[in-house]
């Protein structure tokens, strides 16, 4: 059906910003299908394990797709394609950073995480340490990561939908907030997982068709595409340019992208949806493959947009190039295909915010309510009630934040979320898994240091001081603080743990090994 639509489409001046019947139709179809899935999932979502972890019934392959769905945000689809379309090769350096965290998740944390935890990554950190302090700080780390990521997504969603559909920003934010709340509230992890899977399939197939349509203009020979880019915009587009000049900046951003991935709460939570460590392992392999393929596509989409649509045309609509993929879709497949890709981008945002909200709600109900306020004893009914209230509260909060930050430059918030994830969440998680002498105090200090340094240093960095506040120079020289904040978190964790040993934690480490490595007693 789609193909016949494509064939009759004829390229013309951009229809971006006007209501496109195909995109609206596709979007409603997506929402209708996913809400039906939510209705179906709601009947299966009664217990905590079903709400938080889809009853641990998701297969490794399905979870791999869902992980890819959680990770491939509209920012990386439109943003990276746009970066390649306007800056050339430099966009790929970004994608590589986003991808190389996945192997590390596999080698260092996936299996122990699955074997030791129940619903949240704080389960693992708190496994042999004192529950209350760990749960408090790790939920602060989680919620901060989620909040900044969520704001960036909501503001991006409002702006994107305004450009795509000509819909008011406020209405767009309201629709996204309400639909994703419905998914999480009624369908929990089962619905959220299927939304991710559908979105991942749509995004990967939509981007594949876009690449094929574009390459068709170059006789399916990528070298012709590169030739077009080089002759129009110069050979320097095909090699690293001015994006990375300071090696410390490169290192710091590289660390944030790489290890931040291994500390994102909504990604870590996915590992509890599979039955065992073997399936967890498989899901990382599948996710890495799909995400890598997706970045290959965005690279080709970026260059195709540069050659076919042209840099000036792309930059005239959006300075950052965010509309490159959409303009390319319109040029190669007409208004109907533009509508399809626009709907896919919208679906992408919905799915990512749903994943974030679910992990935020779990952190509030499972970590804070049960382990802090109820001392670890709670009936399932009470916990579910809190989880559902937290979902509604987070839904409302994300709408409010989306409205408050309207028109603000929030691009730095994704970098900040990755920095907090890499500095507050990842070091404590890794040390709790591999280091016998890690203590409660060490963990608390490590998480607090990582989060505080990330926040303070980003405010003092060129990202905020120069780009947003307009100062000539920043107090802290690096654009992303991860190099300092993550080293600080590791250092604090190690020093504090060595200064004040915790006998019981070290003793439990030995018995924990049976569960970490053999999966004995894993839930």
């Amino acid at each position: 059906m789609l193909l016949s639509l494509l064939l009759q489409a004829s390229p013309s001046a951009s229809t971006l910003g006007t209501a496109n019947p195909v995109s609206i139709g596709m979007f409603f179809l997506f929402v209708a299908v996913t809400l039906y899935i939510t209705y179906w999932a709601a009947k299966k979502t009664k217990t905590g394990s079903e709400f938080y972890a889809a009853g641990r019934n998701i297969s490794g392959f399905q979870n791999g797709l869902a992980l890819a769905g959680d990770y491939m945000s509209a920012a990386s689809f439109l943003g990276i394609a746009g970066m390649v379309a306007t800056k050339g090769y430099d966009g790929l350096i970004y994608s590589i950073g986003f991808l190389v965290g996945w192997p590390l998740i596999m080698f260092l944390i996936a299996e122990p995480l699955r074997n030791l935890g129940k619903y949240t990554f704080a389960d693992v950190v708190a496994f042999r340490l004192r529950q209350r302090p760990i749960r408090i700080v790790s939920s602060v780390g989680s919620l901060m990561t989620i909040a900044f990521y969520l704001i960036a997504q909501m503001v991006g969603a409002g702006g994107l939908i305004k450009t795509l559909f000509g819909l008011d920003y406020e209405i767009a934010v309201l629709v996204v907030g309400c639909v994703m709340t419905l998914y999480v509230l009624f369908g929990g992890m089962i619905a959220t997982t299927w939304v991710q899977i559908i979105k991942a399939v749509l995004l990967l197939s939509g981007a594949t068709v876009l690449v094929l349509l574009s390459l068709a203009k170059f006789d399916f020979r990528p070298s012709f595409l590169l030739e077009a880019v080089s002759t129009q915009y110069g050979q320097e587009m095909l090699a690293p340019g001015g994006y990375i000049t300071n090696p410390f900046d490169a290192l710091s951003l590289g660390l944030a992208l790489m290890l931040g991935t291994a500390g994102l709460p909504h990604i870590l939570m996915r590992f509890y949806t599979v039955p065992d460590a073997k399936a967890a392992r498989k899901s990382v392999f599948v996710a890495t493959g799909f995400i890598g393929y997706f970045y290959l596509l965005t690279f080709l989409i970026g260059f195709s947009a540069m050659a076919l649509v042209g840099k000036p045309a792309i930059e005239s609509i959006d300075k950052g190039g965010n509309m490159a993929a959409l303009l390319l879709a319109e040029q190669t497949g007409g208004t109907a295909f533009l509508g399809f890709i626009a709907a896919v981008a919208f679906a992408t945002i919905l799915a990512v915010v749903a994943g974030l909200t679910l992990s935020g709600a779990s952190s509030i109900s499972h970590d804070l309510y049960v382990h802090v306020f109820k001392n670890g004893v709670s009936n399932e009914k009470g916990e579910m009630k809190v989880a559902k209230r937290a979902t509604v509260a987070l839904g409302i909060l994300s709408i409010i934040l989306g409205l408050v930050f309207k028109g603000q430059n929030v691009a730095f918030m994704v970098g900040l979320a990755f920095s907090i994830a890499a500095s507050a969440n990842f070091p404590a998680l890794l040390m709790s898994i591999i280091w016998k002498r890690f203590t409660t105090k060490g963990a608390v200090w490590s998480i607090a240091t990582g989060a505080a340094l990330s926040l303070i240093l980003i405010v003092l960095s060129p990202t905020i001081m120069v780009d947003i506040m307009g100062y000539e120079e920043a107090i802290f020289p690096l654009k992303n603080p991860a190099l300092v904040s993550m080293s600080g978190a590791f250092l604090m964790g190690i020093v504090v743990s060595l200064l004040q040993p915790e006998e019981s934690a070290a003793l439990k480490f030995e018995s924990e090994k049976l569960r970490t490595y053999l999966g004995v007693g894993a839930e």
């Binding site: 090769y89 790929l92 350096i93 994608s95 590589i96 950073g97 991808l99 190389v100 996945w102 192997p103 590390l104 596999m106 080698f107 260092l108 299996e111 070298s223 590169l226 030739e227 880019v229 080089s230 050979q235 320097e236 095909l238 090699a239 690293p240 340019g241 990375i244 000049t245 300071n246 090696p247 490169a250 290192l251 590289g254 790489m258 073997k278 392992r281 498989k282 990382v284 392999f285 890495t288 493959g289 890598g292 970045y295 290959l296 690279f299 591999i434 030995e510 018995s511 090994k513 049976l514 490595y517 053999l518 999966g519 004995v520 007693g521």
Partner: protein
């Protein structure tokens, strides 16, 4: 806690188990280290000697393109190597040890 409370300690102390844990981390750390060297090596070349990457290997294609896409492919292959190792060696050893517990 359960019926295994007596034996687990013996398993933990057994050479087989210790060997398994050691093997697991050497595989993991070698793969982690490889990934770190490749990725940060690439970033350092970008930061210090980007002209090398601008070298043409085709009429227009630069060295940077196969290297960049190659790193993505390489990262995926590394995860594949781990899965292959774990499925063939680790899981078998885990099964053997678990049988001993019962």
């Amino acid at each position: 806690m359960n019926q295994h409370t007596q034996k687990p300690h013996e398993i933990l102390e057994s050479p087989d188990f210790k060997q398994l844990v050691k093997k697991r981390w050497s595989v993991s750390l070698i793969l982690t280290f490889t990934m770190l060297v490749v990725y940060f090596g690439f970033l350092l070349v970008v930061a210090f000697n980007k002209q090398v990457l601008a070298t043409r290997i085709g009429e227009y294609t630069t060295l940077a393109i196969p290297i960049g896409l190659g790193i993505i492919l390489f990262a995926w292959i590394l995860t594949g190597i781990y899965v292959f190792w774990a499925n063939n060696h680790y899981d078998t050893a885990v099964e053997n040890l678990k049988k001993k517990i019962k």
